[in-house]
């Protein structure tokens, strides 16, 4: 693969898990950076869902097929297993029904790639412990009353849900915001990782 198009390092971690020529749905695709990369570098048949009008227009200007909508409202209409991979990148914490959405991802996709900001990270824990207020960090930069993130979870929390729903965890990649992978056990990752990537299958 050529290096002509480099993308955000955490998006590259996702891209590495997508097989060439497959059908991919990117939910919360923003300006289409990842989708565009996958279309051009891996020849995927890609679709996107994005909530903002500006994001949709940017995607359309890249030639991508993106509909304005969100994970809570727009997944029900997709047929079962209509995608090889469904991507939900740093969005699970912003949906109204995270469990329902997670199960929907695995209904419409054979596999799902989910990434989450880790609320169990020590910066966040320290911030709550020392300041006694809801943490505002670089990754979680809005205050509690105006954040779009309404269902925070830690790495361990998502592991619990995955286990409770009998979902197969094919890959777990705790990593820093710059995309650097952390090679450590679950509990340590929960303390040190900025975010985590999950490759899931039902």
């Amino acid at each position: 693969m050529n290096k002509a198009r480099s993308i955000r390092p955490d998006l590259q971690l996702i891209a590495d898990l997508v097989a060439p020529g497959t059908r991919v749905l990117d939910i919360g695709c923003a300006d289409g950076e990842l989708l565009d990369h996958l279309v051009h570098e891996k020849g995927i048949n890609g679709r996107g869902i994005e909530i903002s009008q500006d994001g949709v227009n940017r995607c359309v200007a890249r030639g991508l097929s993106v509909i304005q909508g969100d994970a809570d409202n727009d997944l029900a209409e997709y047929p079962d297993q209509s995608f090889d991979t469904v991507i939900l990148s740093r969005t699970l914490q912003a949906v109204r029904q995270p469990r329902t959405v997670l199960l929907e991802l695995l209904r419409i996709g054979k596999r799902a790639i989910v990434t989450i900001p880790n609320f169990g990270q020590w910066h966040v824990r320290m911030s709550l412990l020392t300041r006694g207020r809801m943490p505002v960090t670089k990754a979680l930069h809005r205050t509690w009353y105006n954040t779009e993130n309404i269902h925070f979870c830690t790495i361990l929390d998502l592991h619990d849900l995955i286990e409770a729903e009998d979902i197969n965890l094919l890959e777990f990649v705790p990593h820093q915001k710059d995309g650097r992978r952390l090679k450590m056990g679950l509990k340590r990752a929960n303390l040190f990782a900025d975010q985590a990537l999950y490759l899931l299958e039902k």
Binding site: Q53, N57, V60, S65, Q68, S82
Partner: protein, 382 residues
């Protein structure tokens, strides 16, 4: 205006047009305008479909009223749909009254105007005529078909009927079926026309009296559905029309009354009452999912290679976002590549005809990437 002023072509002379209703029409005159030139490899043709009371003058002045083309804002040299680059076609729909065969045309069997003996037509019948026009113009495949409102319904029928002849399709503020409310409003309009004694069962051609009053009322009612409450309030509020106080009578005291009366009276000068009956009927009969046991997605199975774009407007209550999203979900379920946005615009259904920069941005992005990705059929064979 005489017929010589109108560009038209006579089609279905040997093989008649078979209509959804079972009847046949032969011949069919199609009035149309083109802008720009068809490229040697035929890869730059865009068909624009007009709305209920629209016409073929999308980018040039209406010969009757002298008003600029109805989408001249977007279509023309150097504009979003650049006629120096694209070959743009717009034809008057079947059943209308700007030169295409409709109820005001002469029935070749009786040599009299058709009137209400004209067969009832459908949106798909309109599209069949457009497809025949494309053949006559040597356009095998369209780079894009685009339309708003009833124009969007025609785009949907193109997708359902001739998907292999499309590279891309854009549906704006439209629906794949008419709802009970849509039908109800149209019925009010038709009853207004038919209640006018001058309508005379549709036999008013050649007489001095036409059902202008009934048609004006129909237009006034319809016009309200094209605007939003906010738009009406913003534009008129309760402002009085050139007077200091209400008159305790039934003159047009309010500006909004005067505006609607003006809309009604200018409309009757350019539109035929029977055409209004036939075209509103065609829209009411539209039920694409109904042809597929309620599964709209099945209508679009053949369109998997057509790039689609659907746009709705927040303030449109005639063809609201919900109806447009039904189209999007069906296209998605059929595996058709589709983009969609609900654009924040305050003008109601008519937003598609007005200055809405977010719509322009989306259309510009969609058209330019559709153009880049288009390989005409000839080039693929090489």
């Amino acid at each position: 205006m005489t017929n010589e002023d109108i560009n038209s072509i006579r089609l279905f002379q040997e093989d008649p047009l078979t209509l959804d209703g079972g009847e046949t029409l032969s011949p069919v005159d199609v009035a149309f305008e083109t802008y720009g030139d068809l490229a040697p490899d035929g890869d730059n043709a865009i068909l624009i479909c007009h709305a209920l009371t629209g016409d073929q003058y999308v980018a040039s002045p209406h010969p009757g009223t002298g008003k600029p083309g109805w989408w001249a804002r977007l279509v023309g040299p150097g504009k979003l749909i650049d006629t120096e680059k694209y070959f743009v076609i717009c034809s008057n729909v079947l059943g209308s009254c700007m030169g295409t065969t409709g109820p005001a045309a002469t029935d070749p069997n009786t040599k009299e105007p058709w009137g209400t003996r004209f067969p009832v037509i459908t949106i798909r019948d309109m599209v069949r005529v457009q497809a025949a026009l494309m053949d006559a113009l040597n356009v095998r495949k369209l780079l894009m078909v685009i339309g708003g409102s009833m124009g969007g319904m025609q785009v949907l029928e193109w997708l359902a009927t001739y998907p292999e002849r499309l590279h891309s399709a854009c549906v704006i503020a439209s629906a794949a079926r008419h709802t009970a409310q849509n039908i109800a409003f149209h019925e009010v309009g038709r009853q207004a026309v038919m209640a006018d004694p001058n309508w005379n069962q549709g036999r008013y051609y050649g007489s001095d009296a036409s059902p202008a009053k009934g048609l004006a009322v129909a237009r006034m009612t319809a016009h309200i559905t094209y605007l939003s409450e906010d738009a009406l309030t913003h534009k008129f509020g309760r402002n009085l029309q050139e007077r200091e106080a209400v008159t305790f009578g039934f003159d047009a005291d309010f500006q909004v009354e005067s505006y609607l009366r003006h809309q009604g009276s200018t409309f009757v000068d350019r539109f035929d009452a029977n055409s209004y009956l036939y075209i509103t009927r065609a829209m009411d009969y539209l039920d694409i999912p109904g042809r597929f046991d309620g599964r709209l997605a099945d209508a679009f199975i053949g369109a998997r290679d057509v790039r689609c774009c659907v746009i709705s407007f927040t303030s449109d209550w005639l063809y609201p976002t919900l109806e447009n999203k039904r189209i999007v979900h069906a296209l998605n379920a059929a595996g058709v590549p589709v983009s969609f946005a609900e654009i924040d615009a305050a003008f109601g259904h008519d937003s598609f005809l007005l200055d809405v920069p977010e719509m322009d941005e989306m259309l510009a992005g969609f058209l330019s990437t559709a153009t880049q990705s288009y390989q005409p059929p000839e080039a693929q064979n090489e």
